[in-house]
C-alpha cells in the first residue's frame, strides 16, 4: 500500500454506507429531535422484522450465487394462507366456514410449508432444469401471484381483505414481552439461527463454496443440486414465516401483500455487503441493510417529506452500494 491517501479511500469505500446512514440519522434528528426516542426505535424494529426474514431468505440465495424474485409474492400468498386458517368462527365471511378454530401453530406451519414448496419449485427450475435463476424466479413470482389471487377470490371471500383473526394470532403480531415486540424477538431469533447455520454447520460452508465457485465445489465432492435445492427451500420457509407474521402484524391479509418485498430484500442484501456474484454475505450486514432502508422510510416520513422521496433516496443508495461492491470484489485480480 502506498501512502495515506489510499487508506482513506479504502476506509471510505468500506464504510461509506455507514457514514451515509449516520449522517442521515443525524440530519433527521436535528430537524425533528423526537426521532431519537424509544417508541420510534420500537416502531422501526417492528416494521423491519418481517423484512429481515425476507432478506435473510434472500441472503441464502445470493450467497449461493443465485437470484430470487419470487420472495414478495410468496409473502403475499402465505399471508393469505395463514390468515384464512386463523379466523374466528364468529367472523361473518369466514374463509373456510366449516373449519374449527385451530391453535396458531397450524396457520404458522401452513405458511412455512407453502413457502418451502414454492422454494422447491424454484430449486427444481434453477438447479435441475437449468433455467437462469432470474427468469425462473420471475416465472414463479407470476405463478404464485396467480395462485394467490385464485385462492383469495374463492367464495365466500371473493377477494375481500381477510379479517376477524383469532386473538392469539393477532397477539403474535402486536404483543410484547417487557416492551420488546414478539415480532422483533422472532426476527432476531431467526437471524441468530441463520447465523449459526451459516457459520457453524457443514451446510453453511457448502452454500458459500457453491456460491464462490460452483465448479470447484462440485470437483470437491459437493452435490451442487442438493445445496441449491436446500437453499431455495430454506429461503421459502423464511418467506412463509414472514408472510404469516405480516398478517398478524397488520391484522389483515390480501393477495396484494408483499408487493416488491423481494426487491427491497435484494437491495438490503447488497447494501449489507453480499456480493452480487455470490459467495459473500453476513447476517449482520443484511440486518443492517434492512434497518438502513427502514430508517430512511420512517425518518423521511417523520420529518414530513413526501413518501415519494423514499424511492429516490433508496434507489440512489442501491446504486452507490453496488458501485462500491463492484470495486471491492471485481477490482482485485
Amino acid at each position: 500500500m502506498n501512502g495515506k491517501k489510499l487508506d482513506i479511500r479504502n476506509l471510505m469505500m468500506n464504510y461509506a454506507l455507514y457514514i451515509i446512514m449516520i449522517l442521515m440519522i443525524g440530519a433527521i434528528a436535528v430537524i425533528s429531535p423526537k426521532f431519537l426516542s424509544l417508541r420510534v426505535l420500537t416502531d422501526i424494529l417492528t416494521q423491519s422484522s418481517t423484512r429481515i426474514l425476507v432478506a435473510l431468505g434472500c441472503m441464502f440465495i445470493i450467497v449461493s450465487g443465485s437470484a430470487d424474485l419470487s420472495g414478495g409474492r410468496v409473502v403475499g400468498l402465505t399471508a393469505v394462507v395463514a390468515g384464512s386458517l386463523a379466523q374466528t368462527s364468529e367472523y361473518y365471511i369466514k374463509f373456510w366456514p366449516g373449519l374449527p378454530e385451530m391453535p396458531i401453530i397450524v396457520p404458522v406451519l401452513a405458511a412455512v410449508l407453502v413457502g418451502v414448496l414454492v422454494g422447491a419449485f424454484n430449486g427444481i427450475a434453477v438447479a435441475k432444469l437449468k433455467v437462469p435463476a432470474f427468469l425462473a424466479t420471475l416465472g414463479t413470482q407470476m405463478v404464485v401471484y396467480g395462485v394467490n389471487c385464485l385462492y383469495f377470490n374463492k367464495a365466500p371471500n371473493n377477494s375481500q381483505p381477510l379479517g376477524g383473526f383469532l386473538k392469539s394470532f393477532s397477539k403474535l403480531g402486536t404483543g410484547n414481552i417487557g416492551g420488546v415486540p414478539y415480532l422483533v424477538i422472532i426476527a432476531l431469533g431467526c437471524a441468530v439461527a441463520v447465523w449459526i447455520l451459516q457459520t457453524k454447520t457443514c451446510l453453511g460452508k457448502e452454500i458459500f463454496a457453491v456460491g464462490g465457485n460452483p465448479i470447484a465445489a462440485k470437483v470437491s465432492g459437493i452435490n451442487v443440486f442438493k445445496i441449491l435445492m436446500i437453499t431455495y427451500m430454506l429461503a421459502g420457509a423464511l418467506y412463509g414465516l414472514a408472510g404469516c407474521l405480516e398478517a398478524t402484524r397488520t391484522g389483515s391479509a390480501s393477495s396484494s401483500y408483499g408487493l416488491s418485498y423481494e426487491l427491497d430484500a435484494i437491495a438490503s442484501c447488497i447494501v449489507g455487503g453480499c456480493s452480487a456474484g455470490g459467495g459473500v454475505g453476513t447476517v449482520g450486514g443484511v440486518v443492517f441493510g434492512v434497518l438502513i432502508f427502514n430508517i430512511i422510510n420512517y425518518g423521511l416520513t417523520f420529518i414530513g417529506l413526501s413518501s415519494y422521496w423514499q424511492f429516490i433516496v433508496k434507489g440512489l443508495i442501491i446504486i452507490i452500494a453496488v458501485a462500491i461492491d463492484v470495486r471491492k470484489y471485481a477490482g482485485k485480480d
Binding site: T201, G212, N213, V219, I222, G279
Partner: protein
C-alpha cells in the same frame, strides 16, 4: 522461391511476462504467396509470437516490417488495416446470424434514404457471392451460422480475412477440430489463397500435414528461434529433433517407489462427444506414477475428468481394485478415494473469496462430515483449523493466516493449498492435471516430492503434463494421447522425447504399431 518478396518480417522480437521470458530475440521472415509453418512444443512461444504480429501483445524489443515498412500495431484493428489477419483456434462467430452478416459485421453495406441508413441486403449478398466465388467456397450466404460445421465456420473466417484485404493470414491449429475431408477442403482454399499471393502462417503440431502444405518451416524452442528451413529439406525426424533437443537436468526427487498390483483399470472409455476421447484403455498400478502426454486438444483433461465423474462416459468400464465401479459425480469418485487436481486452478480449483482454511477442508468436510462434527450439529472449529494448519505447515504454504482469502496467495501457494485439500481425504489414486503450470521452480520440486512420497507409500498417481522434462522425469510409464485416442504407452526404459512427440503428433502411424486390440474402429 527466393525471388519472392518478403511480406512480413519480424526482427529479434523479445517479450517477457512476469517470471517468464516467452520470446527471446526471435526473427521470422514470411514471403508472399507461401505457407510458412511455425512449429514447437507447447510453450515454445509460437502463439506469443503470432499475438505480437497481430497486435494483441506488444513486443518488449524488436521490430516488425510489413512490405519493408516498419510498423507498430497498437491493436488488432491496426494489424488488420496493414493486411494481417489471424484465425484463432477457437472461433467466435455470431451463431444466430447468417453467413453474410457475419462476414460484413461492422461494415454492413447500406443505402441512405431519408437520412436513415437502410441495410442493403442485395449488395451484401452480391459481394458475398463474389467473395466466395473468388475463393472457391460453396456456402450459401443466407445460411444461419449455427447450421454450419466447424470447418465451414473456419472458411467463413478466412473469407472474412480476405474481405478485409489480408495479405498475411495467421492460422492457429486450423485442423485441430477438423476431419480429414474437412482438412482437405481447407488445404484447397489455402492453395487458392497462395496462388493469389496471400501468405499463410500456419501453426500446427501435425508434422505430416506441415510437410505436405508448407513451403518453409520455422521452429521455436523455449522462446528461442531454432531456425528456418525450406520444407523440402525437412523430414519428420529432423523436425522432431529440432523441436525437442533439450538437456535433462536433475530437477526431480530420487525415485524410491516400486509399482505393484493394478489399482485402477479403464477399458474402452468413450465420450458421448464425438470430438472427445474414444476407446481409451489403460491401467495404473499401486505405487506408480503414470504420465499422460499429448498436445493441446488430445483430450487428456476430458478423459481424466470423465474418470472422476465430472463428465459423462458413453461407453467403457472402470475397475478399481479389480471391481467394476460406476462414477457419476466427483463425490462418488471421492468415496472411491480418488482425488483430482484440476487444470484450471482459478476456474475450477480455488474458491477465491473463501479463506485458505475453508479451501483446504472443503472436500474432506463434505466427504466425512462426522470427522468435523463428531455426529453433532456444529462444526468443530478446532478440527478445521488443525487440518488446515497441518498442510499449511507441511507444504510451507506462505499465507498471512488461515483466514486469509485464498485469492491473495501466489499461484504456487494456491496450488499447494489445493493439494492439501486432496491430501486431507487421504486418496489412494491422485490425478494431477498440469500440476506445475505457472508456478515457480521451488514449488514445483515440492509437488514432485509429494508425488514421489505418495507413490512410495503404495498409492497411485496419474499426471497429465505438457512439460516434457517433467513427464519424463517423474513418470514410470507414459501414456500418450492424440486427438482423443490412445496412441501408445511407453515403458520407462523406452522413453525418449522423440518417441513422445512422435506418438503425440501422428496418430495414424502410432496406432498401427502400438495397437493391441481395443482400438478397432477406424472411421477415417
Amino acid at each position: 522461391m527466393d525471388q519472392l518478396d518478403v511480406i512480413l518480417e519480424m526482427k529479434e522480437i523479445s517479450k517477457s511476462f512476469p517470471g517468464v521470458k516467452a520470446l527471446d530475440k526471435v526473427s521470422l521472415k514470411v514471403k508472399e504467396g507461401t505457407v510458412h509453418a511455425l512449429m514447437g512444443e507447447n510453450g515454445a512461444g509460437k502463439s506469443t509470437l503470432m499475438k505480437c504480429a497481430f497486435g494483441i501483445y506488444h513486443p518488449d524489443e524488436g521490430e516488425i516490417f510489413v512490405n519493408g515498412k516498419n510498423v507498430h500495431f497498437a491493436d488488432t484493428k491496426n494489424a488488420m488495416d496493414q493486411g494481417i489477419s489471424m484465425i484463432h483456434q477457437e472461433l467466435h462467430p455470431i451463431r444466430v446470424r447468417n453467413v453474410m452478416e457475419n462476414i460484413w459485421v461492422g461494415r454492413i453495406p447500406y443505402k441512405k434514404i431519408g437520412g436513415v441508413k437502410w441495410v442493403d441486403y442485395k449488395t451484401m449478398y452480391d459481394k458475398t457471392v463474389q467473395l466466395f466465388e473468388h475463393l472457391g467456397i460453396t456456402i450459401n450466404p443466407r445460411e444461419m451460422v449455427s447450421n454450419l460445421s466447424v470447418s465451414h465456420c473456419q472458411l467463413l473466417e478466412i473469407a472474412r480475412a480476405v474481405s478485409y484485404g489480408a495479405k498475411v493470414i495467421i492460422m492457429d491449429e486450423p485442423t485441430s477440430s477438423l476431419t480429414e475431408t474437412e482438412s482437405e477442403l481447407l488445404f484447397r482454399i489455402i492453395r487458392q489463397l497462395t496462388a493469389q499471393k496471400v501468405a499463410i502462417i500456419y501453426i500446427s503440431h501435425k508434422i505430416e500435414e506441415v510437410l505436405m502444405i508448407s513451403d518453409e518451416i520455422t521452429i521455436l524452442r523455449d522462446g528461442m528461434l531454432v531456425g528456418s528451413w525450406n520444407s523440402k529439406e525437412m523430414n519428420m525426424d529432423l523436425i522432431v529433433k529440432r523441436m525437442v533437443g533439450r538437456e535433462m537436468t536433475n530437477r526431480f526427487p530420487q525415485k524410491n517407489h516400486k509399482p505393484g498390483t493394478v489399482k485402477m483399470e479403464a477399458k474402452n472409455l468413450t465420450s458421448p462427444n464425438p470430438h472427445s476421447f474414444k476407446n481409451v484403455s489403460f491401467q495404473v498400478r499401486k505405487g506408480e506414477i503414470l504420465g499422460i502426454g499429448g498436445l493441446v486438444g488430445a483430450q487428456r483433461t476430458e478423459l481424466m475428468e470423465a474418470v472422476f465423474g465430472l463428465r459423462k462416459i458413453a461407453e467403457g468400464q472402470i475397475f478399481i481394485d479389480g471391481k467394476e465401479v460406476t462414477i457419476h459425480s466427483p463425490s462418488e469418485a471421492i468415496r472411491h478415494k480418488m482425488a483430482l487436481l484440476t487444470e484450471e486452478r482459478r476456474f475450477t480449483g480455488i474458491i477465491p473469496m473463501l479463506s485458505v482454511e475453508d479451501n483446504i477442508v472443503i472436500a474432506n468436510q463434505s466427504a466425512h462430515k462426522r470427522a468435523y462434527t463428531g455426529g453433532k450439529l456444529f462444526l468443530s472449529k478446532k478440527k478445521r483449523a488443525q487440518d488446515a494448519k497441518k498442510y499449511v505447515d507441511s507444504f510451507s504454504i506462505k499465507t498471512p493466516g488461515l483466514k486469509t482469502q485464498i485469492q491473495y496467495l501466489s499461484g504456487g501457494n494456491q496450488q499447494k493449498a489445493l493439494l492439501g485439500r486432496w491430501m486431507l481425504i487421504n486418496p489412494d489414486l491422485l490425478i494431477l492435471d498440469e500440476p506445475t503450470r505457472g508456478i515457480d521452480v521451488g514449488a514445483k520440486y515440492e509437488i514432485y516430492s509429494l508425488m514421489e512420497q505418495m507413490a512410495a507409500e503404495g498409492k497411485s498417481v496419474i499426471m497429465i503434463s505438457s512439460e516434457m522434462p517433467e513427464l519424463m522425469g517423474m513418470s514410470d510409464r507414459i501414456m500418450v494421447m492424440c486427438e482423443g485416442r490412445l496412441s501408445g504407452i511407453i515403458e520407462g526404459n523406452e522413453v525418449t522425447e522423440e518417441r513422445i512427440m512422435y506418438l503425440a503428433s501422428m496418430v495414424e502411424e502410432a496406432r498401427s504399431d502400438t495397437e493391441k486390440g481395443g482400438l478397432d474402429t477406424d472411421e477415417r
